[in-house]
Symmetry: C2
Subunit: 171 residues, 2 copies
């Protein structure tokens, strides 16, 4: 199920060093931002690698399946693109590939035959359930040295960060 859209070279393990540079004296807010970027980039890269090795699936394909998994009625391709950060141009090829693998089907709406939606097949649902279980277990494993209290504190503090940012982004 491989796809060219995913053929970027492996990045270095620790982005924070690269992004941060000589930023020791910088503001704590910037350091927190760089730390979050560093974690999400390196963990995303590892998840990307494991999806490829274990299931021969790319991260964009996984994202598309994840979005469709919670929309039994299916989604229009434009909406799928919007929800996944996959560009409109790439979503068509990715969906075609998943369709030829039997995981997705495309259908036209009865009330407007110009509109095409993609949705999971039974096989797609089963496969995605398998991917999702592995994905969750990898995250648990990657955070294996972090005790429950620390995870809880991180969730709490980041909910404050998230609320602050969203308040300023939406206005």
């Amino acid at each position: 199920m491989q796809d060219d859209a995913d053929a970027s070279p492996a990045p270095p393990a620790d982005f924070e060093i690269l992004v941060q540079g000589a930023g020791k004296g910088r503001k704590a807010q910037l350091r927190l931002w760089l730390r979050m970027l560093s974690i999400t980039k390196s963990v995303s890269q590892e998840i990307r690698r494991r999806l490829r090795v274990e299931f021969d699936v790319t991260l964009p394909q996984f994202d598309i399946l994840a979005q469709l998994d919670r929309e039994p009625g299916g989604l229009r391709l434009g909406e799928l693109s919007r929800r996944t950060m996959v560009t409109n141009g790439n979503v068509t090829g990715l969906v075609a590939r998943l369709e030829s693998d039997g995981l997705i089907e495309r259908l036209t709406l009865d009330d407007d035959r110009r509109v095409t939606v993609a949705r999971l097949t039974k096989r797609g649902k089963d496969r995605f359930a398998e991917f999702a279980r592995a994905h969750e277990s990898w995250l648990t494993e990657l955070m294996g040295d972090v005790d429950d209290a620390t995870i809880g504190h991180a969730l709490e503090t980041l909910s404050v960060v998230k609320a602050s940012a969203l308040r300023r982004i939406s206005t």
Copy 2:
């Protein structure tokens, strides 16, 4: 300095809702992961928007300038691609564009004339310093509701998360 590589549509403000779906009962590690993804995606999108509006520069261009800013001797394009997550294919066009804007220059090495490196011009350094100041102030503003102690706790807990993940990614 706009570039087509950045012409994706605006995503919704809160990715966590979309990514998480009916995941209330899920493991705390997965929730923490989704929260980090949600923050980094929405804040990156906002920074992308502001760079465009304020400076007419794209996020990939900003990333390239940031990497070159800390390498006075310049970087080969392949290395630049690796450090920025910009694909090899796109880095050439981005560098050409920044060169035509007078922010970057390309030169061949004396000891191996087949090797081309890109580095910032004086004008590029000055412009990047301006972008970087704005970038830092935006992050401070976006986290404006978060008190210093909470920022400090987030930095500490995420350093534990990061160490745990990197330990498992590198082995």
